[in-house]
Symmetry: C3
Subunit: 349 residues, 3 copies
């Protein structure tokens, strides 16, 4: 079970309730009234716990699991161990998400304003906010109901934050308008100047960065991620985007809805993403590109050209994924028969 120092559990729930929450099927002979106390991983779960199988890599753990119940795709049902109640669904991970959120609902902040929070008198705040110790909220900030500002976070002058958001410890937000139910994790940096300057032989002159960061509803921004404000246009993060830790998003970037940006990705200025674009970890996108909806970009790729909607690409410079796999195969063949060169060492520094 989850460490009670950190997590408060709800429940128990019956198999019937869980099946309903998960939109899953129970086999005819099973008892819908059987009570399940908790969620747990396949290899840790016991008879009063429910687990799930989504990644086929863990099929052996499923077959050996002592879990009392398990959410699985129907095709795995024949491999279930004896005594395990199955909740079958074509989308087991989504079903598990729903079940797990029943046992461990996202924490609702207990409304409170810490005495040591430093709040400008011109800031406004909806009902039920939690404002933690040491946070600093600037002039004319507007914060919606039920929003949680964690300890030592800094919200700059004029920023607007919606309802039921959470701003992590030590994060900073300036020059931004943030939607509802947005989660900004610890140490994220939203709204600072973009990397814009004019250069000549004598040096570099900063160009005023006059746009904002506009963040849609239900967005997540990972820990220590940086999102620069626009140079004139705004930087725009569409509703429902999931952005991991240590990502860099340059000025004027526009992302559509539901994009998934894995850790350490960098998106250069003025590049536009359609809806539901997926970018693997450590990939980098040059500036001023147009990436169509549904594009998937492999981890570590480098993009310097536009990508039409629905395309999978990989490599640096990135090419369609089928072509990229052939490149990899060809280079591997070269490496197997070629002659070594003495240069690179396996040390990083």
């Amino acid at each position: 079970m989850a460490d009670p120092r950190f997590f408060a559990r709800q429940g128990p729930f019956s198999i019937g309730e869980l099946a309903r929450l998960a939109s899953a099927e129970i086999a005819p002979g099973e008892d819908p009234g059987r009570m399940i106390a908790d969620v747990a991983a396949l290899d840790a779960a016991g008879p009063d716990e429910i687990s799930f199988l989504d990644n086929p890599r863990y099929a052996a753990s499923f077959a050996a699991s002592r879990a009392g119940a398990c959410i699985v795709h129907p095709r795995f049902a024949p491999r279930a161990p004896a005594g395990m109640t199955l909740l079958t669904t074509p989308a087991p991970y989504m079903a598990y998400a729903k079940v797990s959120r029943a046992y461990y609902p996202p924490p609702r902040p207990t409304p409170a304003v810490a005495a040591t929070a430093i709040i400008d008198p011109s800031a406004t705040m909806g009902d039920g906010c939690r404002i933690d110790a040491g946070s600093v909220i600037g002039p004319r900030v507007e914060i919606g109901a039920g929003t949680w500002i964690a300890a030592n976070a800094v919200i700059g002058e004029g920023v607007v934050i919606g309802r039921d958001c959470s701003i992590g410890a030590c994060a900073s937000v300036t020059h931004a308008v943030v939607g509802d139910r947005v989660m900004i994790y610890a140490g994220a940096r939203i709204g600072q100047d973009g990397f814009g300057f004019a250069s000549d032989r004598t040096g570099h002159l900063r160009v005023p960065q006059l746009g904002r960061v506009m963040i849609g509803d239900d967005v997540e921004v990972g820990a220590n991620t940086t999102i620069d404000r626009g140079a004139g246009p705004d930087t725009v993060i569409g509703a429902g985007c999931m952005i991991d830790n240590l990502v860099q998003i340059g000025h004027n970037v526009q992302m559509g809805r539901g994009c998934v940006i894995v850790s350490q990705v960098g998106i250069s200025g003025s590049t536009r993403l359609g809806d539901f674009v997926v970018i693997g970890g450590q990939a980098g996108l040059a500036g001023h590109l147009s990436i169509g909806s549904g594009v998937r970009i492999a981890a570590k790729s480098g993009l310097n050209g536009d990508v039409p909607p629905g395309t999978d690409v990989g490599g640096a410079p990135a090419v369609p994924v089928r072509e990229w796999r052939r490149q990899i195969a060809a280079v591997k063949r070269l490496g197997r028969r070629g002659k070594a060169e003495g240069e690179p060492s396996p040390e990083g520094s």
Copy 2:
């Protein structure tokens, strides 16, 4: 126009004043007394606003723009729409930078020391500083006139910061001597121990890191960037360097003047850069290298050898850019005719 919640505009200015500020030419028939209220992007500007064209990619937006005035290279003049007053110059982006800074001058901090700032009595401070809420300034710190320390920033014992600097929210600076007009963005980490330890079969023993970080005048350090202090020698950032977000600079690195380091670059310990080196995003440099002045390194490159001055390099391991382009072309040809391998998937995790 820029959102007045976040930006205070100066002006209006006449075409004549703007041309003088921009060192640009006005065509003979134009009215130098025509008043211009604001700057705006080509596709957003109206008749009382001035825009600019620098990237030829946006030439069509220029030809269709409703901007009352525009800063352009003389070669684009024939494509200007009717009614647009042209300010021509061979350096339109620098000219725009100067015009834009007239409308939106860099914010001058209003001098004030927040009651909740925690300032050691032995720290000293010049006139006109702004010290924001929750910032912590340690013993014997020296801060020059006109410098702004943002909310919840931490300045460690003995640090020296020059005049007219700005230290961002939640940034931390230790073991450092910082010049004038330096901007350190939110969450940057300056002066912590470098990654130095001796290892044997039993483990790792940290080696004391006894140098400092020396930052020249007019440097910018991006959000959440990390610069470690020297191990014995200092880590040195030359005057006028522009460093983007999430960059890592190892101990003992020495950078000359005016270098441009794009986001997520990593420079390993003891590597030296000359003046005006440009490093594209996500590139990585091994330690103990010597990179000559004027070198330009393509995004995502990996360097494990010295580079002579004035060379453009790319790739991993990096080679002269011409050779790198041939590598790319050759690998692309292999990918178009080769056989695929099933391994990599387009998912990042």
Copy 3:
């Protein structure tokens, strides 16, 4: 010598004492009573200072050094300049680490609890802790004796931290159990939710992240590094691991003892590392991999498969290092005779 604004020196020590500390040999004719005042780099050291030679790249500086004493491998002894006392050892860098720590012992915090620290009454603390200004320590936190919490750090509810640890300025730690003598640098983010959500056509639903971050003794976590807590299992960092700045460690990752993770590495969720794995800068590991003990991964590599113990690998996708060197050599040959393609530019954005 180290800047006294930042460093307090001990000593002097005699050659005899230093040789004993370093487990090094002194040549028969030398005076073990000669006093040495400080450590210094080869090119900066004077007659009353001790230096070291470890990287053969600096052999010329050794031959030209004015250092009064030097720690070296016996094979370099013949190249020593006149008047230099040699301390010979097969492990000069480890010997230097010990000598240097005698002159500059790791700072012991002066016990004190700042009046402006915000400490929940239910938190407990051992003897001799130093709790700096503006730090925030939540309910039921347990902090061991001699631990230093730096300014504006945030320790979340229920977190356990061992003895003699140091938590850097503006760092945040939640959902974690931390061992003894652990150093977490400024701005590190420990314990936030992992990047876990279920997706369908309508969007993404966050999955509760119910594990912790377990950090062993003697671990270092670099500045602005992010370590997500487990999804159900814990994220585990083994004793003695050294993690550099800006590293990303995903949920459920398990690392053995003594691993070295260089800056900007990303390790995706559920990947397991054995003991003493070394990962070069900017490398990326896909999720669910198994990396054996003693594996060394070259900088910038991309791993999408398991690696058996004791293997050196490089490249993206990574292959055994010998094969990788042949790949590099083959691609270089292609680049020298091939035809260029016009695409990539040396600019990063």
